[in-house]
């Protein structure tokens, strides 16, 4: 604790005595590209990733990947045995083919 106080007062002293240099020294801090991964810089992308991890799920749950992707996740129906878009449970349906269209996402 003693050391801490000492360092704090030393720092305070330094700040006071070199206060004229503050503005000059500040130019080395680029808030867009911080040198140290501090919370204020790292938290926003983490928050954005919270959304990213969740966002595409409603459509994906219950949807089968296309042939060739080599992986089956939630794989519900298809009577023909080929991979098709399909929802097992749903939050919303996926429109892939209309009666007159044969395109699929």
């Amino acid at each position: 604790m003693k050391n801490k106080l000492f360092i704090t007062s030393l720092l305070a002293g330094m700040l006071l005595s070199f206060s004229a240099c503050d503005d000059y020294l500040d130019i080395n801090f680029d808030p867009s590209n911080p040198q140290v991964a501090e919370g204020f810089a790292v938290l926003p992308p983490i928050l954005s990733q919270m959304a990213r991890g969740n966002r595409s799920i409603p459509g994906i749950l219950g949807r089968t990947p296309k042939t060739g992707q080599g992986i089956r996740l939630i794989t519900p129906l298809t009577s023909t045995g080929t991979f098709q878009e399909a929802m097992l449970w749903e939050t919303y349906g996926v429109v892939t083919t209309g009666p007159s269209e044969k395109t699929s996402i």
Binding site: G53, I57, T78
Partner: protein
């Protein structure tokens, strides 16, 4: 499909530890608490989605294969981290500062009391998911809900800048991610009166859009859009989630609606969800009065969230769509209203709910399986999503094989949380 996996282990992943390491030096307990809260939420989401995941060896350096841990252990880890987060968010000494936390906290603007509510929301989910077990403790769920989000002002919504396709809301028109999605008939029937005594829900026009002939239509999963024909294209075509005709392709002409706009927040927790969790727990406990009160608060909260005029909201609450006494309330009422409130924005949690009731059509009225499952399902519905392909199935197959993760029908194995 591997997005949650990717987020949890990589893009959120070690960054949480980075914040904690830097914040520890400066005694920024608030940053530490927030980081632990996010990781707790992330573990919860990850295991609810995938089942068994890598817990103990996660982020362990110099490993090439990683062992999986049981879901029960991940649930315990969520509780451990949540309690640590609560401790840290409760501290006011050292470098704790709302102004400092607000620099990074785009959601709650540095308000630690709201992050505390966030942690209780994680704990409430964690406790409520075990509703099928003899160890289920509805009192715990109710306690957590009471300490969690207390109004729509506490909703956890992640704001997008919404200025371009790189920073707009994922569901917004500029991003063009949901142009091929339509509401299902199951969902439309919850709103148009088919399920609820012929009463049309005032949220219907705010959440989805009628065809040009004024009728709300949905699709059946996997069967495509039957209105997509040239013959009746003009009048019966189902609009997109943005509210426009699918024939409009110029993004500049599409503004979107509800949570499907460029600037709409991405919600992780809402007050409505908390109230529906409380309603369900109170119902299971046998306290029907409390369940009924929370149930109505949940509907009201989501009506306000969708910006239904108060008069229409109250008329709906007094209508035959809503049970008019605590004794008339059923578990189906609670779960269906929760389904509406959680539509799209809370889909992972909705999937947890539906699995807890094993897709019961007496709870989820009007819900039906497709006529046939994919051949590998062996006649069973899916209960989990496989771990991310391009790490687990490529490099870590040996570990997966230890518990059957390599089997063709692994996605139909029921996760621990829903088992008795």
């Amino acid at each position: 499909m591997g997005d949650i996996w990717r987020s949890h282990y990589w893009s959120i992943g070690k960054n949480v530890d980075l914040i904690i390491a830097e914040a520890t030096k400066k005694e920024q307990w608030d940053y530490i608490g927030v980081s632990q809260a996010i990781r707790a939420w992330s573990w919860q989401t990850l295991t609810d989605y995938h089942g068994e995941v890598i817990l103990k060896q996660a982020w362990e350096p110099n490993r090439f294969v990683f062992d999986y841990d049981s879901q029960e252990e991940v649930y315990a880890e969520v509780q451990r981290l949540s309690n640590l987060a609560l401790e840290n968010l409760n501290k006011t000494d050292g470098g704790v500062s709302q102004a400092s936390l607000a620099r990074g906290d785009l959601v709650y603007k540095g308000d630690r009391s709201k992050w505390t509510k966030f942690v209780y929301a994680v704990l409430a989910r964690n406790a409520n998911h075990l509703s099928n077990k003899s160890s289920y403790n509805p009192d715990k769920v109710i306690e957590y809900c009471n300490k969690s989000l207390a109004s729509n002002d506490d909703n956890f919504g992640i704001p997008p800048a919404g200025t371009s396709s790189t920073d707009g809301n994922f569901y917004g028109p500029t991003r063009q991610n949901v142009q091929v999605f339509r509401p299902t008939n199951f969902f439309v029937n919850l709103l148009n009166g088919t399920v609820f005594s012929g009463v049309q829900d005032p949220r219907i026009s705010l959440m989805i859009t009628a065809s040009p002939d004024g009728i709300y239509r949905g699709v059946d999963p996997g069967k495509g859009d039957p209105t997509n024909t040239t013959a009746n294209n003009a009048t019966t075509r189902i609009p997109t989630f943005w509210g426009n005709s699918p024939s409009v392709t110029n993004v500049a002409q599409i503004s979107g609606k509800y949570i499907f706009t460029d600037k709409a927040n991405h919600f992780i927790f809402t007050y409505a969800e908390i109230q529906f969790m409380k309603a369900e727990a109170a119902f299971k406990k046998g306290d029907k009065a409390m369940a009924y009160d929370a149930f109505k608060k949940g509907i009201t909260a989501h009506m306000d969230f969708t910006k239904v005029p108060a008069a229409q909201r109250d008329a709906y609450l007094a209508s035959a769509a809503v049970p008019q006494s605590a004794d008339a309330l059923t578990i189906s009422d609670i779960m269906l209203q929760k389904y509406i409130a959680m539509w799209v924005l809370g889909s992972i949690e909705t999937w947890v709910d539906m699995r807890r009731y094993d897709y019961s059509s007496s709870v989820y009225k009007g819900f039906a399986f497709p006529t046939a499952f994919y051949i590998d399902n062996n006649g069973k519905p899916a209960y989990r999503v496989r771990p991310r392909y391009n790490s687990e199935y490529v490099w870590n197959l040996e570990s997966l094989a230890k518990f059957g993760g390599d089997k063709a029908d692994y996605h139909t194995v029921k996760p621990w949380f829903m088992l008795p």
